[in-house]
Subunit: 208 residues, 2 copies
DNA sequence: CTTGAAGTTGAACTCAGGTTCATGTTTGTG
DNA sequence: CACAAACATGAACCTGAGTTCAACTTCAAG
């Protein structure tokens, strides 16, 4: 008999962990392609090569699986970004590395990218959590750079959301919509922009 | 008997137009609150104070109604923004006015804001159209300012998406998440940021 | 070898919601 | 007033999908 409990109260063996992961991987694919509501558990279990009933051994329901995916993604992305940024010294290099790492992550996990965007309508809490944690970490880094005098004194949170928005939209445009050959140039442009603004003197040089 | 056709091949009387609009208005509410899939036509017709069957007199199906809503929203927003921007002379004032108008629009049409974000998973074409048209108009304006020497020479498209991303995320944070009292300050911060960048000298003045 | 916990299965149950349609009502025109 | 087109209705049909469950298999420990 099945007795799932919150998430996986049951003790999992390596075999169980493997099956569970298969379901998570399949869900990443299916949710990413079709969206939460349009995805059926039947398709997820098929792609995971397990029977329908197996699903409920490892997850309470469709919703719980989705929430776990989003949370997992958030953690992975934050870790990826913080690692990428740590290797850099100047704030600008940190930003460049952060953008690059984000785009690379997005390219590798296109489906997860789309999954997060849906979280807004599936589970408000996990969606808020995702963006707030990301923004908080970002703002902390910015604040430190401001206090060191490397950046002007802005509200770190406002700037964090602004920069996240830039990354999100450029990712949408140049990663999701498939024009990777333009990505590198876009990163250069945008780093110059965030460094010196739209009136960047560097960008005015060519004028007569 | 009903015979809908693509959209509304049937000649509508003023009574018909009124009912149709009631359905659109109700759909805006319901889709915005629950998302496309989770919204039922039954709820939409209830809120519109019409019978279930009436829905199919005016719309081919649920999907068609959604697509029309998104397209309608896109048009309204573009018109709103272009009007707001036209009143300004300098590029920076145009940007400020554009941001303000966008946030105001988002505040008035929170549901529509959420609807657009879902279009990605409901109808790829209408979603691409929405962002591409917006970006194209934005880029045209930026390009003109660059050619006049008011801005540095960037790729207008890259900057357009970057600025759209900023607006989208700040709207999410300070309009959707309900902290309107911080909005005005956020706009000031972000205009300063896009004007002179993160190292804005104006923002460094206070340092010893 | 025994035993029980962990794992697996897929048919069957339920039910919600999109769509259809036959019927009845309203409205404007000649 | 008559007639047709437009409008409105909601019960009924139908399909798909989430979830349950009782029976079966695998596996490791003792």
């Amino acid at each position: 008999m099945n007795q799932p409990s919150p998430s996986s109260a049951r003790q999992l063996t390596s075999r169980g962990r493997r099956t569970r992961q298969q379901l998570l991987d399949a869900a990443e694919l299916v949710f990413g392609e079709k969206g939460f509501e349009a995805s059926s558990i039947a398709e997820i279990t098929q792609r995971a090569d397990v029977a329908l009933g197996t699903f409920y051994v490892y997850f309470e329901n469709k919703h719980a699986l989705f929430v776990e995916l989003v949370a997992q993604l958030g953690e992975r992305l934050r870790k990826t970004l913080s690692t990428a940024v740590k290797g850099q010294t100047t704030r600008l290099e940190k930003e460049r590395a952060g953008f690059r790492a984000f785009f690379e992550f997005a390219g590798k996990h296109r489906n997860l990218y789309r999954i997060v965007r849906q979280a807004e309508f599936v589970d408000e809490a996990v969606y808020l959590d995702y963006y707030r944690k990301l923004a908080a970490a970002y703002a902390r880094g910015l604040k430190a750079s401001m206090e060191q005098g490397e950046l002007g004194r802005f509200d770190p949170e406002v700037i964090a959301y602004a920069l996240m928005g830039i990354a999100d939209f450029l990712g949408m445009r140049f990663v999701l919509w498939n024009e990777p050959e333009q990505l590198e140039r876009a990163v250069d442009e945008v780093v110059e922009f965030i460094a010196h603004g739209l009136r960047s003197p560097a960008r005015l040089k060519e004028r007569p």
